[in-house]
Amino acid sequence: MPVPESGAEPQTAAQTRFDHTLARDQRIEPRDWMPEGYRATLVRQIAQHAHSEIIGMQPEGEWITRAPSLRRKAILFAKVQDEAGHGLYLYSAAETLGADRADLTERLISGRQKYSSIFNYPTLSYADVGVIGWFVDGAAICNQVPLCRSSYGPYARAMVRICKEESFHQRQGYELLLTMMRGSEKQRAQVQDAVDRWWWPSLMMFGPPDGNSPNSERSMAWRIKRHSNDELRQRFVDMTVPQAERLGVTLPDPELVWNEEREVWDFGTPDWSELQRVISGDGPCNQARVERRRQAHEDGAWVREAAAAHAARQQDRQAAQDQQAAQDRQTAQTAQLKGVPA
């Protein structure tokens, strides 16, 4: 169904083509015409996704030097590196829509653009690393699998790639927890404690309930978003409860109960005021996360400037060389015509 721009003009041929592409569930590519609202919504969504990958490196990255075994260290190091790669990939996808990466970074640092609320929570033990793999990557995958069929080509393809890598991370996280649950009393307690702290924030990753999600309808009409927040949240719960049972942990929700009729797990209501507070900057780590990103960006300015200066100088040198080479050829040709040695 076509979504008219506010103050809509008469339907153009380009708009018609756009609408038909969406209706046939096909892809919009960078070279295609698209409504400004579509483009802007995508830029915001993709940018936020990219920012989340980058900020997400912080809570996990701080545990690399303190991993409890060399194998765990390698796994975590690789995971965090993957996340940087995902961020880069997504920024590139945003650039195909005309966004500028430096500008997006500015928006993140100034707070004008957001990142996933989940990364505003602290990692207090190594069990948190496992639980992040299990819950947060799990939730991200639930969110992202449907986005593999998102209408915008570069975004959909990025989702396919990212999902595959994240499913490996989720597996690694779960495996870490399985190992800890088969370990000492202290390790099991650490896992349960991490579960208790990360469960509700993970449910909140899917955003506010459908009734309170104003942008969702447009995004769904444009097929940028394929399922509602509540639908995805339910999927995540249904997927995770059996995993929790295999692990031997309790999910901290007294209202979690199997609904025989609908064949889903009914669950309690997240504290939406907490989500609101965290989104608006009042979570445990918001300031630290953004500050860290800002610091790295500023500290790196001289490096980026030097790289640019060097590249420019290289270009000039190359241009000068090319010009000289062309002159030399000209001189040689002229000499040849005159029968004179150059």
């Binding site: 790669g85 990025a158 396919v160 890598e165």
Partner: protein
Amino acid sequence: MVTAGTVTADARSPLQRARDAAASVLDPELPMLTLADLGVLREVGVDADGQVTASLAPTYSGCPALAEMRADLDAALRAAGFTRVEIRTVLDPPWSSDWITPEGRAKLAAGVSPRPDRPPTGRRAARCR
């Protein structure tokens, strides 16, 4: 040897069956590629007593997926009906991205980056150039 539950007779030799099973195992980190595509599956052999030995070359020293690769390969061979399985790791000669098959390269190239003018962004993609 036949897995319980296999109904149709398998006309392949045990060696072929082992090779097919091993070659089809997906890379845990880049599941669009098989171990064969990646060039890490070095050798598969079945001895006279029916024991399968498969050799893997780790891609790079820090590869965190080696344990998973070994486990997946082991599981695939057991699912193919072999009860005695040995997975060897071969450090020498060292794996190089030259060993990636043309099919593997094609799969990697698909969706490598939205910006063809920029280098590949992922860890594996960067290694497998």
